[in-house]
């Protein structure tokens, strides 16, 4: 990832001191300028697309107020996501990976949709184009999120003051982020543990499938949480407070809790803009939940494996809800602190196993491999 690149570290080492040295009124413009330069350097095509979409969304969110225009803009954003994801899928199938690799595309498409919907409903205070532009191109979060909200960004914008404690917190967070990515994810989990577990493959095929899924899940968590830490820490160095993305997801006691602590900014976005509107219209919880989880899956990649991953988690949440509603009240569960502690421990272990088994789906490269992996696990 570019955040690990020494050039990115050097870029930040120049931008942050200059940002605090220039007069207060120039900071927003400076941030927009540096973010533009950063994205232009990373990928000019991504910049051109982002700039065009940002301008179009800003214009249409203020003019031609009608339901048809609203629908047209949302459909335009949705179809842009679909076209790009389908192109990526076709390229991947043809073996030409990353020909249309737009920097942070998945994240800024969601930010644009959030802005358009909330601006149309009049949720934001009065602001200028430069506020929106600096929000969309905010370089610490453009590549891996968190998918922060515009109103929170505006609020941070008004409160930017030098604070020793915030700056120190930011530095500490960046250090933890790099340690998670470089030491834990890239070295310990991606290299050391698979080498250690290599002996399992021939002797215990079922265990090796489970270990591989666990390695995949932990690598994902530490790499992604580390990159989020870097983004949040860097934002703090610039005086901005960002929302969190992870809150110890592997210690969740149920699958619902897991989705409240795993990639929190994405699940919160999907809850707000997919689940709640669809549930309000249809009053059908299972369908609304399934649709939301499928969207979360397909947001990562247009493929069968991510579609199945979404369905797997939706089924898990529905089963858990059914257990909570129908089975738990009639089960003779013992009371008391000790029993509650044992119950919590069991719940954490069960949820953890469910999540780790689920990672078998996206880590497999084809549908056939998914079936094969589950067959190995069942047959032992």
């Amino acid at each position: 990832m570019p955040q690990i690149n020494i050039l990115f570290i050097g870029f930040c080492a120049v931008v942050v001191p200059v940002y605090w040295l220039i007069p207060d009124g120039w900071r927003r413009a400076f941030l927009s300028l540096t973010s533009t330069a950063f994205l232009l350097y990373m990928d000019p095509i991504s910049f051109a697309l982002l700039f065009t979409l940002t301008g179009a969304v800003f214009f249409f969110s203020r003019n031609y107020k009608s339901d048809r225009i609203d629908l047209a803009v949302i459909m335009l954003l949705f179809s842009t996501i679909c076209v790009i994801r389908f192109t990526q899928l076709i390229q991947r199938l043809q073996g030409e990976i990353h020909l249309l690799a737009l920097v942070g595309f998945g994240f800024y498409a969601l930010k644009l949709t959030h802005y358009f919907i909330e601006q149309r409903s009049g949720s934001f205070r009065k602001h200028r184009f430069i506020d929106f532009y600096s929000y969309m191109l905010f370089f610490p979060t453009i590549m891996v999120g968190p998918i922060h909200k515009f109103d929170e960004f505006l609020q941070s914008n008004r409160r930017i003051r030098w604070n020793d404690q915030t700056f120190a917190d930011g530095l500490e967070r960046i250090l933890y982020g790099y340690a998670k990515v470089v030491v834990i994810a890239n070295w310990l989990i991606a290299i050391k543990i698979p080498t250690f577990a290599a002996g399992l493959h021939s002797q215990y095929p079922a265990s090796s499938v489970i270990v591989d899924s666990a390695v995949y899940g932990f690598h994902l968590y530490f790499a992604f949480a580390g990159l989020s830490d870097i983004a949040i820490g860097l934002s703090r160095l610039l005086g901005y407070q960002m929302c969190e993305n992870f809150d110890y997801p592997f210690l969740s006691r149920n699958i619902g809790e897991f989705w409240q602590s795993w990639h929190m900014s994405l699940s919160s976005w999907c809850r707000q803009y997919i689940f709640i509107p669809f549930f309000a219209k249809s009053r059908n919880l299972p369908v609304a939940l399934l649709l939301t989880m499928i969207c979360i899956g397909l947001w990562h990649e247009f493929s069968i494996r991510y579609l199945l991953w979404g369905i797997y988690h939706a089924s898990g949440i529905l089963l858990w809800r059914w257990y909570q509603k129908h089975l738990r009240p009639v089960l003779p569960l013992p009371n008391g602190r000790i029993w509650q502690g044992i119950g919590n421990g069991f719940s954490v272990a069960f949820t953890f196993s469910f999540v780790i088994l689920g990672f078998t789906i996206p880590r497999s490269s084809s549908f056939k491999e998914i079936i094969n992996n589950f067959q190995i696990m069942i047959s032992g």
Binding site: M1, I4, Q88, I97, H98, L100, A101, L102, F105, G106, V144, E172, R173, L175, Y176, Y178, A179, V182, V183, A185, N186, W187, A190, I191, H219, L220, A223, F224, Y248, H300, E301, P362
Partner: protein
């Protein structure tokens, strides 16, 4: 965020550090130094395909 020297717990609530005073500063200094050393040591480790976030 983590460690007995921190003045805040994981959710940001202030707390009394388990190891207060000068010892806190010394421990904190060496903890950061250790992390920095590990990062520099393993910085060149090749990155595994990070497919989850998409290209």
């Amino acid at each position: 965020m983590i460690g007995p020297w921190n003045e805040k717990d994981v959710v940001g609530t202030s707390r009394k550090p388990l190891i207060p005073g000068k010892m806190n500063l010394i421990l904190r200094f060496f903890w950061y130094l250790l992390l920095l050393f590990l990062i520099v040591l393993f910085y060149d480790t090749p990155e595994k395909d990070f497919r989850y976030l998409g290209p």
